[in-house]
């Protein structure tokens, strides 16, 4: 992953990591794979839950995250989103 990433790309990368793990992943794996600080990752995860791109499931001592239909749609349409936002200066 590139060092300089904008928000849209970071969101894409996190969702891609979750998708690659069969749609369910622990936060430590996201931290390792997404190349973010813990604080940044936590902020992004909260934002993604709020946007309903991912869902959080709590077990006894652990949390897992899964990608939702909306998150899947974001991944599928990512190129379109990036093209529009960069062409109209919204990124």
């Amino acid at each position: 992953m590139n060092k300089k990433r904008d928000r849209l790309q970071v969101i894409h990368d996190i969702l891609q990591v979750i998708k690659e793990k069969n749609g369910r992943i622990k936060p430590t794996h996201i931290l390792y794979k997404s190349n973010l600080s813990y604080q940044m990752m936590d902020e992004y995860l909260k934002e993604l839950i709020e946007k309903e791109f991912i869902a959080e499931e709590k077990a006894e001592n652990s949390k897992t995250y899964s990608i939702t239909q909306k998150g899947q749609e974001y991944l599928n349409q990512y190129k379109l989103i990036v093209n529009f936002t960069s062409s109209f200066g919204l990124d």
Partner: protein
């Protein structure tokens, strides 16, 4: 922007067509921007879509009111009362356009500021409309205000292009530059019919560039 008082008679129909074209282009960009918002939940897309929707409504209202004026003028010889009605209709179309277009520009400025405060947004809207309503020469004030807002938007696009080292937003820089020149042009030359036509062509060029930018996105 076709208005009864400044438009040369021969240009009135062209002005109507231009207005309809501006309305359709801005509506298409707006709807697509809302689609991007639905997919990404990105606040900027929502505000951009709202701004372009306001531009579109402003042009549509003006188009339909001017169309009504045009058909009235063509249908029969007017008496004084009917003529007064046409003047009222024309004034209404100018005011609706000015207020909605200003709201659209203010929405773009709020998007650029990137703050999450609805009070700031409402305050900006209120101040701009209040100044517009209390100004002695409302049309001139509208073009001065819109030119200033367009300068801020232009600076944003310059900075964006440099920051992102991207040539993709160059079309938007040129488009907003042409819109700005068009509006500055209207401030000084509002009483000259032929210059009004030139200003309208500058607007047309700006919206064609926005359309080209939009079609480029669709093609990719």
């Amino acid at each position: 922007m076709a208005t009864l008082s400044f438009v040369p008679e021969w240009f009135f129909v062209y002005g109507l067509v231009f207005g309809l074209a501006f309305a359709i282009i801005t509506l298409a960009v707006s709807l697509y921007s809302f689609k991007i918002y639905r997919l990404s939940n990105q606040k900027q897309s929502k505000l951009f879509g709202t701004a372009f929707l306001l531009f579109s409504i402003s042009y549509f209202i003006q188009f339909f009111l001017n169309l009504a004026i045009f058909s009235e003028l063509n249908e029969r010889i007017l008496n004084l009362i009917e003529f007064q009605n046409l003047i009222t209709l024309n004034t209404l179309s100018i005011f609706a356009h000015m207020i909605l277009f200003t709201f659209g520009l203010v929405t773009l400025i709020y998007m650029i500021l990137n703050v999450k405060n609805k009070w700031i947004y409402s305050g900006m809207m209120l101040i701009s409309v209040l100044f517009l309503l209390i100004s002695a020469n409302k049309i001139n004030f509208f073009f001065i205000l819109s030119s200033l807002l367009l300068i801020i938007i232009l600076i944003y696009y310059f900075q964006h292009s440099i920051k992102h080292k991207s040539s993709r937003s160059v079309l938007m820089i040129v488009a907003f530059f042409l819109l700005m020149i068009g509006h500055i042009h209207f401030i000084f030359l509002i009483n000259h019919e032929i210059e009004y036509v030139l200003g309208s062509f500058l607007e047309l060029a700006a919206y064609i560039l926005i359309l080209v930018n939009f079609l480029r996105v669709l093609k990719k």
